[in-house]
Point group: C2
């Protein structure tokens, strides 16, 4: 580290790269020593960093020290075995290696010509995964459809919503956007609402069909059909349904077969958002939940959530790639090339919002090859088993109740309010959440189900083992005891 860092120098990259590998390996060795949820206060970093960038180079060692002392305390440690919030964004050695080589090449394969391997590997690897998931053959690249890697599910649902919007407007006239109606349930992810805002769908034309605990918060096809008929009778135009495989709050699975038939009747676009739980379908024993996927026009699943692939890697399959292309294609002179003009290749720029794109299929390919399907299946099964272990803990303590059926690796539960308590339990459980997260030993998040504040424990960090689940249960139980003690005092 005698000389300044050159913009690019292979031997310096080697030297510093090795140091960085050690830094990251050490981070993983120490990961359990950090508070899972950062305990910093808003604005903490401003006080620790200078107001402006340095004029001259600083030392790598100093930067690493700052990362250690100033950045790490401000992280939520998503890869910590004590991370149970939201849904996982789990990483792996293979995913990390994949990111390394991807950013090492740093190619921007917007069109086939801009890096043929980037496009072709993506097509191949998404076919691989479609086969593992036993998706209908129309989702394979051999037909009119195929898979594409988006950054996130938000982008996946947005591009299919746009395709569906434009398809509908081509039929009924583009001045009719006010007639377009989207259907979702009250459990559908907020990314659909955002996509509707972006696409200019009228807020009051976004139907939010109520779910109930009796159907475990899954979509009610009868209510859907009723609502559609009502909308049609008002002269409105139903065009898009977003269903979910593993809802955010409780990992509920919608009845795809019934929903799909309704969509077919009304010529609506049928999307399945399987961001988190879709990953479980690599195991044959979970595949039955996906029955009806044959009816879908599009299917999205995030390999970055639960398939050991570093964020971001959101997979989207469509039956007709041309639907996306019609909405998202542009063809400026400076990007024209013989392969594209001849129609010999797919240009994924026309299947997504951005022009530029990273070579994300490389990491997914490495994950699939370095682990193989069996290891990935075991990974999923292991997490589902850990969730079941936690469920049993909750069931063993009568002060707690399980709030929804355990689906996949998610457990929704709550502390029952003591008899005669004025609180219906919402404040109690909110206090419990903050008490648990405030210890820094685990990070759990919440939702509301049937109007009640509920804790969610989602297993999914790669490093989580029995002992972490057991310790987290004890932590929750002990904090609950303290809270109940306080309340009784």
């Amino acid at each position: 580290m005698d000389s300044d860092l050159k913009p690019m120098d292979a031997e310096q990259l080697r030297e510093y790269g090795h140091q960085m590998v050690d830094f990251i390996a050490d981070y993983y060795n120490n990961i359990e020593s950090f508070p899972v949820l950062s305990q910093v206060k808003p604005g903490y970093l401003r006080e620790l960093l200078p107001d402006s960038a340095p004029t001259s180079p600083e030392k790598f060692e100093d930067v690493l020290n700052d990362i250690r002392e100033k950045i790490i305390p401000g992280l939520a440690h998503w890869q910590s075995p004590g991370f149970f919030a939201y849904y996982p964004s789990n990483s792996s050695t293979a995913g990390f290696l994949g990111e390394m080589v991807m950013s090492g090449f740093n190619v921007v394969g917007f069109s086939w010509i801009a890096s043929p391997a980037a496009t072709e590997l993506e097509v191949i690897v998404l076919d691989w995964l479609a086969k593992i998931l036993k998706l209908p053959t129309q989702f394979l690249s051999s037909g009119q459809g195929g898979g594409v890697i988006q950054g996130t599910s938000s982008e996946a649902v947005l591009v299919v919503l746009l395709a569906a919007r434009d398809k509908a407007l081509r039929n009924i006239g583009r001045n009719s956007v006010s007639k377009l109606v989207v259907y979702a349930s009250d459990q559908t992810h907020s990314s659909l609402q955002k996509a509707c805002q972006i696409a200019g769908i009228y807020t009051e034309n976004v139907r939010v069909i109520k779910t109930s605990s009796s159907s475990n918060y899954s979509f009610d096809p009868d209510l859907l059909r009723e609502k559609i008929l009502e909308d049609v009778s008002f002269g409105l135009h139903p065009f898009f349904l977003c269903s979910t495989f593993g809802t955010t709050s409780s990992a509920a699975v919608d009845p795809f077969d019934a929903l799909g038939k309704i969509c077919r009747e009304h010529r609506m676009w049928f999307h399945i958002d399987a961001a988190y739980a879709g990953n479980a379908c690599i195991c044959p024993e979970y595949r039955h939940y996906l029955e009806g996927v044959e009816e879908a026009d599009s299917f999205g699943m995030n390999a970055h959530k639960w398939l050991l692939t570093t964020f971001d890697c959101s997979l989207l399959w469509v039956k007709h790639g041309s639907d996306l292309i019609k909405s998202l294609s542009t063809n400026p002179e400076y990007l024209k090339n013989k392969a594209s003009q001849a129609g010999q290749v797919v240009d994924f720029k026309d299947w997504q919002i951005p022009l530029g794109r990273r070579f994300r299929s490389l990491k997914l390919w490495m994950v699939l090859r370095l682990y193989g399907v069996e290891t990935l299946q075991n990974h999923i099964r292991n997490h589902v088993g850990l969730a079941h272990r936690f469920l049993q803990h909750v069931n063993s303590d009568p002060r707690f109740e399980v709030v929804a059926r355990q689906m996949f690796s998610l457990v929704c539960f709550r502390l029952r309010p003591p008899p005669l308590s004025q609180d219906n339990g919402d404040k109690l459980n909110s206090d419990l959440l903050h008490a648990v997260n405030g210890t820094g030993k685990a990070f759990v998040s919440h939702t509301v189900l049937s109007g009640r504040f509920v804790l969610r424990l989602a297993i999914g960090a790669t490093l989580t083992e029995d002992r972490h689940v057991d310790n987290t249960w004890r932590l929750i139980r002990d904090q609950a005891g303290l809270l109940l003690g306080t309340q009784l005092a």
Copy 2:
């Protein structure tokens, strides 16, 4: 490498990570030996890879060999010193190290709470860069505005277009989308067209103002004013102008001061897309081109293009963050938290299309610190100097002509058609392009200016030096000689 790879194991990550660092360092050592533009044929990879994913783990060594033998031949080597196509997406040792640590942590900081450091570092580093660029203080986080990192310029222009659309519709009524008019020049990047498609702006309401060689292809404020007045007289509603600092075809700079005043008069949103050339404004001698930025509502620049930051890292500054939030915010229960509810923090999920986001500010911060502003300025100046060197080569050969003024590190040129040739030069230059790129020694791209097919040589790869520019010139000159010889024969 005796045992199978575990999903995550710090010591395996260390062992394989070191091997991967060596693999990438070796790649950079050998980068000049690869054809810059891949010479593979469409479908090449399908024949080299199996039809389905492996059931059992494969060896890391085998994967590395496949990358070497099957993937690398299918890359366009964007980091090669012979890469002169499009605009650069240049990388650096610091950028690579930044990607490593970012993907090592693999946090998803959609909200402040989900990793406070990710949000706070982004705010701080975008303030740093705003100061380096001498952006107006309204673009700093201390006021109503601030910076945010998007994936690409396409997303940057989309989010501001959406904010402007919704602002306009709040004024004139949401049923009036058919009245909204967007203004651009015929040199504006295609990402604006795509953003308009997404936002539902009517195609015939996207005004494409003609530019000419006499003004070096910059935006003509007089034509803009005329068109706006005409549109207003027809009852239409002008609401958005996309101007460019460094157009894609010729790196032209629009007259921001004049354009901005027109926008102010008509209460239009004024965006400056400085994706590539904006980076040059870190050098005081180029800053004057940005005069008038005070008038802008938003300003975008891609650090991943020309500031040694690995793709993706697209910077966007706005004067009023609330404009973005009004269009892009959602507030589902499962993401609620005390810091957000109290309004103490910024949640960047509401400034962008996706929910999830990578910790991209970490790499930008590392680039700024490990190089310092002076090294980055030298990097820009060096590339501009190399472009000038190439320009002099072109000027020295009467068979060639320079087609637009050299701006920044881009040279637009063409081979003159021989006297009495039936070709106006378009076929000749297209043939020259393919001949040059077909050698694999350089990758140059093209555009059309004033109706003529033109070659573009954009300097920007981190490793490009005098000798690469000289060799590329000789290559072009020699290929031209062969073509002209053929033509004369």
